[in-house]
């Protein structure tokens, strides 16, 4: 069952400010999984620190980074967590990016236990004055859940805590997309042959604006094909169309300059052409300028070298 997170109003005190949602970037999730896969043979789960940013405007916590903290379990009921390791790594991270602070901790097991309460207390102190969050990642299903802690009893005891679920979502930041695309394309090509990796290699030297534009245009045209297929099926009466989709599409198409005048069917052809021609001509101009610029550059380079020789 999905849990309920209320949009509680902000308070002036940081320690009582509610957490309305936890936004996780793909990077920390990948780091947590990586940590889990590299765990020792005798361990069934790993812990670590979550770094991120708190947004005071909407009370969300953004998890942007994570690092593992080693621990040792000695028999029943005894766990030693290497807090020195946490402190020194945290220092290093803060040197790189002082904006990302400790927001909580993670564990790679969907089940909580009494150590969760004790570890959580440590992280509450680390992330003070704001409350810490706890993220559990199930390594088999890859499902993750975020919790905040709430005391049980009027006189708070460190080992009496209720962990309350908070809405958690994964969000990919625009800036990360290129990197994630590259990573995931590698993933899919793993199953394919070496040909795919060769293709990937060709893509790797990241690209001129024009090449990027080429890629984006290809993407758009693929998406357009999908939409066209749907619209055609609906128009031909093969499937029931959703009116809302139709209206949204019509609005979108209206914004596209070349296709905005469908009423003038004959005129439309010429106008589309006009736009294309203009675009092509402009593109040719740009290419010419860049060619000439390169030519000039080469020329000067040559002449300076020749001057040296002479």
């Amino acid at each position: 069952m999905s849990s309920l997170t209320l949009a509680l109003p902000s308070t002036s005190l940081a320690s009582t400010r509610p957490v309305s949602a936890v936004v996780v970037s793909p990077l920390p999730l990948a780091a947590i999984l990586d940590h889990h896969l590299r765990r020792g043979n005798d361990q069934d789960r790993v812990f670590g620190t979550l770094l991120g940013v708190r947004s005071e405007a909407d009370n969300t916590v953004q998890v942007r980074n994570a690092f593992g903290v080693p621990y040792q379990a000695q028999g029943r009921g005894e766990v030693t967590v290497d807090m020195d390791h946490h402190k020194s790594l945290l220092d290093l991270h803060l040197k790189i990016n002082p904006n990302e602070v400790v927001v909580g901790w993670y564990a790679t097991s969907p089940q909580l236990n009494s150590f969760s309460a004790l570890i959580h207390n440590f992280y509450t102190a680390e992330s003070s004055p704001s409350p810490a969050i706890h993220l559990t990642l199930d390594p088999t299903t890859l499902a993750f859940t975020a919790y905040t802690a709430s005391p049980i009893g009027t006189s708070p005891r460190p080992d009496h805590l209720a962990f309350i679920p908070v809405d958690s979502i994964m969000r990919l930041h625009e800036q990360e997309r290129a990197g994630i695309d590259l990573l995931t394309s590698n993933l899919t090509s793993l199953s394919n042959s070496a040909a795919a990796s060769k293709e990937l290699g060709a893509d790797l030297p990241v690209s001129t604006p024009l090449a990027t534009m080429y890629r984006l245009l290809t993407k758009v045209s693929v998406m357009l094909d999908q939409v066209l297929e749907y619209v055609r099926a609906v128009a031909a009466g093969e499937r029931e169309g959703d009116e809302r989709v139709g209206r949204a599409l019509l609005e979108t198409v209206g914004v596209v300059p070349t296709a905005s005048q469908p009423q003038q069917a004959q005129k439309k052809g010429t106008e589309t052409k006009g736009f294309e021609e203009e675009f092509n001509a402009h593109l040719a101009d740009v290419l010419m300028v860049s060619y000439l610029a390169n030519l000039v550059k080469t020329q000067t380079e040559l002449s300076s070298r020749l001057n040296l020789l002479v």
């Binding site: 849990s3 379990a73 028999g75 005391p151 080992d159 128009a235």
Partner: protein
Amino acid sequence: MSVEQQGAFEDSYTQPYGSAYFISVDPIFEEQITEAVSLIARSRPENVRVSYISQFAAAAKAASPTPALDSEEQDDQVQEKKEIEEDSDETKQAKRKVIRDLLSSIKGLRLEGTDKEFEGFANLLLSLILSLFPSTDVDFPTLILILSDALLFSADRTANPTLSSRYASLAILFNSLPTTASPSLRLTVLLKLITYASTNDDFTVIAPALARLESWLLEWGFGPGTPGEEEGNAAVASVVNSLVNKSKFVEARELLIAHLSSPSAVEGKAATPSASAAKLASQLITLSLSLPTIYDFSALSTIPSVSTPSTPRLAQLLTIFQNGDVAAFEQFAKSNAAVLDEHKLVAEQLETKLKLLALAELCSKKVGETVSYEEIAEALKLKAGANDDGEEVETWVIDAIRASLISGRLSQSLASLHVTRAAPRSFTTEHWTQLASRLQGWRQSLDAILDSVAKGVNVGGGEGVGAVEVSQEGAKEESA
């Protein structure tokens, strides 16, 4: 080795309830009760406080299996905790009695305390109930409801604890209801929360709950076409009422649309909607008609129960808005003034909306063209004065643009409107075909652009490499 290691994380103090976890290491029943009671006692008259606390403390002590534990015994207790819990039915019964008494003593009491104390108190009582009473127990729903009432009971707004901590505590209670708890109990708790927050005007707080209400109703078996349909409809009706009472018409309408168009309702098209659904449909039509921001009425026709609302006249009125004109409405209004009055619909407002729709319809046939003021005046049946200068037409057009029905440019000197976009009144196959042809056009021009960009990429790439080569050669020469 690994077995032993896993054992390190196993303990009997952690209990998952619902989607929350409660962790209490070595809980001592007597202490827990005393803590809870001392907070409750603050709301009691001073002269009975002490006796009240000691009464419960004594009861709790009597209920605990081994009243005085020294530390050694406690360790043994930990090892055998499971056994003890399972064995001593008597103890459990005694503890349950204490909890029952405790909860009946907080009925109608205004709890006092700081936010932190209140939060802890609520969690404490909740964990006691959850650990001692299985969700199938007959007393379980009653106790949960008493607790939720007590959490929400407050005499005035400013009192400590604050409203937000009350909301938060009830949300925790809702989240920690075990999966085996009855759906009605969940719904009741949720409705309590929604009603309480709406009486205090805290709609932003419960917005997430409202957004999920429909999916929960379906999940819990209150969706249309199920045995729990009536209960679900009643719940939606009560939420909608509290929203309407606070003038939250847009939210109320969204909730109604979500509820009436939920999947199972659409599937069961053949079945006639129940009386309660028909009532909700009437409310939906009324809200859609009276809200000044809603102009899309064709979307409503996909909702089955809307065609058979509890007031059949409303369906007729909706049809006029879907494809009728002002004249048809005037006729309707003349003979059905009582119906309009009953649903608090204002004839003038409706007429205005209808005229704007007519304007949009006119414009949607002329996207990319110009429409003269005369045409607009004729479509709207405006009787313009001699020296009006089209001002009235302009007002109407501006209103339509503001309602985002159309967009375009007015030209006063030419007395015409250049339409760049207009929302069609209903979305037909014709529109789909039109959309397909526009998309096709877009696709083609995109292909052409793609071609030239592809050329550009090849040319630019080759030339760039050449330049690099030259400079490398130059470097070589230099080093030589």
